[in-house]
């Protein structure tokens, strides 16, 4: 007995006919290409301090201007974007894994375990995101690893709830019942029969979460409780830019614009993928 659907079956077809997802990928692709090109061809090092060219406005030599150390903002954005993306990806992967395992288990077995985990997710839902993150930062110390963990903690309940509701819905389907009757172990059923069928919505949640992860990294670092300088994350750069916002508004403005650009791409992609999943929503945005 194999599951009748493959993960995201038909998604590629829908993707090709979904203009929202296409716009999202185009925006992301542009950002990625720009990051790669800047890193390859920029004449500046992200940490090169040039005290002769402090706080220069955008120009041909410095498209995004320079910061208070005379560092090229565009180059720093290209490096910072990678740091921020990696932090967000790490957080989402961790939160997604833990949340999915918890959610699938409680959706599959139900009972007391289910009640306890759902109360636990409710508890996590009761803390404002940054409050939860801040407590965690105090516990683990500032830095990119802690930021990733904070993002993961914020996203565990989201994944757990999603995985739980879909698992309990899938549990009743024929191929799962058949697998159970054939005496397959629960772990095998969860991995082989159920996971492929619930993977697509989880992926959509993942791509939507990436954007928020970046915002969260930026917010924590911005307040000074996240990634610490000199690591050039986007949040750190924005925190730096706010200190001389009146003298050189372009540092904060253009860094934030780059952040918004990447997140817009991720959000559009997530939206498009979600529409591809849900047949009722499929044609809505196109």
């Amino acid at each position: 007995m194999t599951a009748p659907r493959k993960p995201g079956s038909g998604m590629w077809y829908t993707f090709r006919s979904n203009r929202v997802a296409q716009a999202g990928s185009a925006i992301l692709l542009f950002a990625l290409v720009a990051i790669v090109l800047v890193r390859l061809f920029s004449p500046y090092d992200p940490n090169d301090k040039d005290y002769m060219s402090i706080l220069l406005g955008p120009s041909l030599e410095h498209p995004f201007g320079t910061d208070s150390f005379g560092q090229d903002v565009l180059t720093r954005v290209a490096y910072g974007a990678q740091v921020s993306l990696l932090i967000s990806v790490a957080g989402l992967v961790l939160g997604g894994l833990v949340g999915t395992v918890i959610g699938m288990a409680s959706g599959f077995w139900g009972g007391v375990f289910d009640t306890v985990t759902m109360r636990f997710t409710e508890l996590l839902y009761s803390f404002p995101t940054y409050v939860l993150a801040l407590c965690l930062m105090l516990l683990l110390g500032y830095g990119s690893r802690s930021v990733s963990l904070a993002i993961a903690l914020v996203y565990v309940p989201n994944f757990a709830r999603l995985a739980r509701s879909m698992t309990s819905a899938t549990r009743a389907e024929n191929y799962v019942t058949a697998a159970r009757l054939m005496g397959q172990s629960p772990a095998r059923i969860l991995l082989r029969e159920i996971l492929p069928n619930i993977a697509a919505p989880l992926l959509v949640q993942f791509s939507a979460g990436l954007g928020f992860g970046i915002i969260m990294e930026a917010g924590l670092s911005f307040v000074g409780l996240g990634v610490q300088p000199p690591t050039p994350s986007l949040g750190v750069m924005m925190a730096d830019g706010k200190d001389y916002f009146q003298k050189g508004p372009w540092v904060l403005t253009l860094t934030g614009f780059s952040v918004a650009w990447i997140i817009l791409g991720l959000n559009l992609l997530g939206d498009g993928l979600r529409d591809a999943l849900d047949p009722r929503l499929r044609r809505r945005l196109s």
Binding site: Y130, C135, G219, V223, K242, L268
Partner: protein, 317 residues
């Protein structure tokens, strides 16, 4: 009667959640590496000073005992003393002074977000697939993609530094001048509200479009009711229930945004107090602030539950 039972159960659940949540915060803050006494007195403190500090703050008691003492005191409104601020301000006084500012800015933001989303979401749904819909939908996704604190600075750039309409920094407490609070709180509230409004209007649009297809809407058309009558009494009225629920679920993001935005605009709110305390490693104050935020979110959820109970006759059944 049913409604009372339903709500009573919700209140009990919320109280349980609060106790467990406070316990978790307490444990987290006591698991923090490093010694609170050392943090307060500095690394150079003499062993005697540290010992007397520990005794004074009951740091040698078992954890359960400490939690019990702290919770009992918290119930009477005493959340302990700050160890970082000179003069040992009480945490309760710090929160009492800052909570109204946070609630003001957060509530102001919520009202703005709801107002924008009601208009944008309704227009988008009722003009589905047309120009207005495309504009509202694109606007929503663009605003959702903006980090709120960055949006705050952009607003400052335009409305304070550029036009000079609003102050760039600082906040007039509502107790001093209500008009001043609205004036100085507008930009921070707007910065939080705009991305929220994007989320809310998308939610409203989706639920409206789903409700448009319900059997009772077709049935209402078959009865010959007018378009706007059907929209308000059938579609909007029923879409309101998931919309209110969705707003409740956003409470934790909204308050999260408040923490950062308070720093941007120098609003002396609970978020600012909490961040300052975190820098000073003043765990007692962080703990108190976290519990206050927990209470706000839980209370918001209760309010949402109550509203839904009133809006949806099926809920209490």
């Amino acid at each position: 009667m049913n409604l009372l039972l339903y709500f009573g159960a919700k209140v009990l659940g919320a109280l349980a959640m609060l106790v467990v949540g406070a316990g978790v915060v307490f444990l987290l803050m006591h698991a923090v590496p490093g010694d609170a006494a050392m943090a307060a007195l500095g690394d150079a403190a003499s062993p005697d000073a540290v010992a007397s500090f520990r005794a004074e703050h009951h740091l040698n008691d078992p954890l359960a005992q400490q939690f019990w003492d702290w919770a009992r005191a918290a119930l009477t409104g005493d959340l302990g003393k700050s160890i970082s601020l000179a003069g040992g301000f009480s945490t309760s006084a710090l929160i009492a002074g800052s909570l109204p500012n946070t609630l003001f800015v957060g509530g102001f933001a919520l009202v703005i977000a709801i107002a924008i989303s009601l208009v944008a979401g309704s227009i988008a749904a009722s003009r589905h697939g047309r120009m207005e819909d495309v504009l509202a939908t694109s606007g929503a996704i663009v605003t959702i993609s903006m980090p709120d604190f960055w949006l705050g600075y952009m607003l400052v750039l335009v409305f304070s530094l550029g036009l000079g309409w609003f102050p760039a920094y600082g906040f007039v407490r509502p107790s001093e001048s209500l008009a001043g609070a609205f004036h100085s709180g507008f930009l921070p509230a707007l910065a939080i509200a705009v991305p929220m409004a994007g989320i809310f209007s998308r939610m409203l649009r989706t639920t409206l479009l789903e409700t448009f297809r319900r059997a009772y809407v077709v049935s209402a058309h078959a009865m010959g009711f007018g378009r706007s009558f059907i929209f308000w009494h059938y579609v909007f009225r029923n879409a309101l229930i998931p919309y209110v629920t969705a707003i409740g679920l956003q409470a934790r993001y909204l308050l999260g945004g408040v923490v950062v935005i308070e720093r941007v605009f120098g609003v002396p709110g609970v978020g600012s107090v909490m961040v300052d305390a975190a820098f000073a490693r003043d765990y007692g104050v962080v703990q108190g602030c976290a519990v206050v935020f927990l209470v706000i979110v839980i209370a918001t959820n209760l309010l949402v539950d109550a509203l839904c109970g009133l809006l949806d006759p099926r809920r209490a059944a």
